[in-house]
Each structure stands twice: as C-alpha cells, then as structure tokens.
Amino acid sequence: MNILNTLSILAAAPSEATAIWLPVFFWTFALVSVLSSLAVLVVKDIVRCAFLIMSSLSGLAGLYLLLGAEFLAFTQIMVYVGGILILILFGVMLTNREPLLIKRMKATGLVAPGVLAGLILFTAIGYSVCTVDWKVTDQPLPADADTPARIGNALMSDFILPFEMASVLLLVALVGAAMAARRGGAEG
C-alpha cells in the first residue's frame, strides 16, 4: 500500500492512533468517492446523480486533507460542493426529463462511440499514471506546512502572471456566463 505508507510518513511521527485510523479514513474517502462516482453512472434519477456528485466531491476533498492539502480540500468543498454542484442542480432542473434523457441517449445510437471514447480516455489516463515519474518522497513535510501561506507566497512571487491571468479568465467567464444566460433566456 504505497499511498498509505506515504500517508503515515506524512504524519511527522506515526503514532498508534494515526497508524490505525489513517487507513480507515483513506479507505472511507476512497470508497465514498469511487462508489458514488460509479453510482452516478448507474442511477437513473438525474437529480439523485447530482447529489451523488456531492459525496464524490466530498470524498475527494477528504483525500486531499489526508495528503495535507487542506487549502485545496476546502477550496474543493467551497467551489465544487457549494458552487458547481448548485450549478449542476440548476442545470438538471432546467433539463429535467429524466426518463426522456436516458431514452434519447439510447435512441441517438451514441452507445458505441461513447464506449470507444471512454476506452480511449481510460487508456490515456492509465498510461500517464503508469509512466509519469511521480515524485514520491519519504521525507515528512516541513514542520510549518502552512499551505495557504505557501500558496500565497508563490502567487505573489513566482506565479504573478498566472494569478493575474486567472482574473482575466474569470472576467471572460463572467461575461460569457452572462451572455449564455441571456441568450438562453431570450430563446426560451
């Protein structure tokens, strides 16, 4: 269990408690995210699917936490669970015809291309997972792993341009969102 080893190394001094509870948490989060992702595929009710995405995203956030990326974990919850999930729910409510959607998918004959696309994607991801040289370290994180401050320092020094570009990107997204919503409304 490679990841679990890494996890216990991350905890500066592995104690009895961490040794027992870390795997529990890891498996819980992993199972929650994987199983609910699978359930999203299987469950027919589209609204339930949307809610399942929430547990999937939360499970991922938990995994981030275990890896010490607390800032990322909470951003995940804030932006994905608190934002994108709501967006998805609104989207679902806009297109809500659950039996219809499934029927239409079958009718369009997209099953074979879908399977193909899935296979290609799966292969690509699998290939990269296997080949990329993951920089696994057995060193514990530095004592003050104050992630937000580190991110802040990085954003203010090495990544100024990406930081500012992000705002431009958000601007574009804002304008685009407004446009899309407006056109959607006008067509309706």
């Binding site: 010490g68 607390e70 609104f90 015809r97 930081f163 958000l170 969102a177 409304g185």
Partner: protein, 157 residues
C-alpha cells in the same frame, strides 16, 4: 502546524460530521419512532397544495434566471478562493511602517486582480444581466401590462 496536529484537528471535524449524521438518524428514526404514533391515512400522504389536489408534478424545468445567478456566483466564488492565499500573506509581505516596495507590489497585484473583475461586474451590471431578468413569456405579459397602463395614462386624474 504539523501534519499530526492537523490530522487531529480534522479528525475532530470528521467525528463531528459522523456524530451529526448519527444524531439526526437517531432522532428521526429511532427515538421518535418509539414515541410517535403512525396512523395510516391516504389523505395524509397527499402533497400539500393549499387544500386542493396538486396539478402535475413539481419536478418541472425551473426558471432560467436561477442559472444566471449561480454562474455569476461561481465566478466570484473562485475569485474569493484565489484571494484567500493573498490575504493571509499580505500581513507578512506588506512590510513595516510606510509600506515596503514588496508591500505596494503585493497590494497592487491584488488590486489589479480585483479591478479586472470589478470591471467585469460593472460591464455585466450595465448590460442589465444582474437584473432579475424576466423570462420571455413573462416579459411579454409585462409589456402588454405596461402598454395597457400607458394607454390609460390620460384617464388619470
């Protein structure tokens, strides 16, 4: 802040979460099941709609406008998320009294970030996208209404 103490903090959160779930389930499915009566009645299980039978399902495609709100919100949500790291290091970087060059720089960086989005906000505002845009059919109705009112302006005393 070591990982171990961080784990401890968040283990607390996890325990609280689990406890909350168990607490609610205990309350609604165990304790109250023992105490409450269950009297089957067909009428009781109907959907409440002011005493009249409900017409159609409420699971319909809802209003477009809510989507706009969520979109606009999401943009600003991400923006705020971006600014958290900035805010937490601002105090360290701003320097001593009078402000250091780094401090001014850091301030300007965030200010530009905000300014760009502020421009976006003003743009969307001016275009009226932040207004509670009425759906087209409702707008028609509204226009008719308004026409009617305008036509009756001269009658007013």
């Amino acid at each position: 802040m070591t990982m171990a103490s961080m784990y401890f903090d968040y283990a607390n959160v996890a325990v609280f979460f689990v406890f909350a779930v168990v607490f609610v389930i205990l309350n609604i499915s165990v304790i109250s099941v023992i105490l409450r009566p269950t009297v089957e009645n067909d009428q009781k299980d109907t959907t409440y709609e002011c005493g009249e039978p409900s017409v159609g399902s409420s699971w319909v495609r809802f209003d477009m406008r809510f989507y706009t709100v969520a979109l606009v919100f999401l943009i600003f949500d991400v923006e705020v998320a971006f600014l958290y790291p900035w805010a937490v290091v601002f105090k360290d970087l701003r320097g001593a009294i009078g402000g250091s060059a780094t401090g001014v720089f850091v301030f300007l960086e965030a200010a530009i970030f905000l300014l760009i989005l502020f421009v976006g906000l003003i743009y969307v505002w001016k275009r009226g996208d932040l207004d509670w845009v009425k759906s087209s059919s409702a707008q028609e109705v509204d226009a008719r209404q308004r026409q009617m009112i305008e036509a009756k302006d001269e009658v007013r005393l």
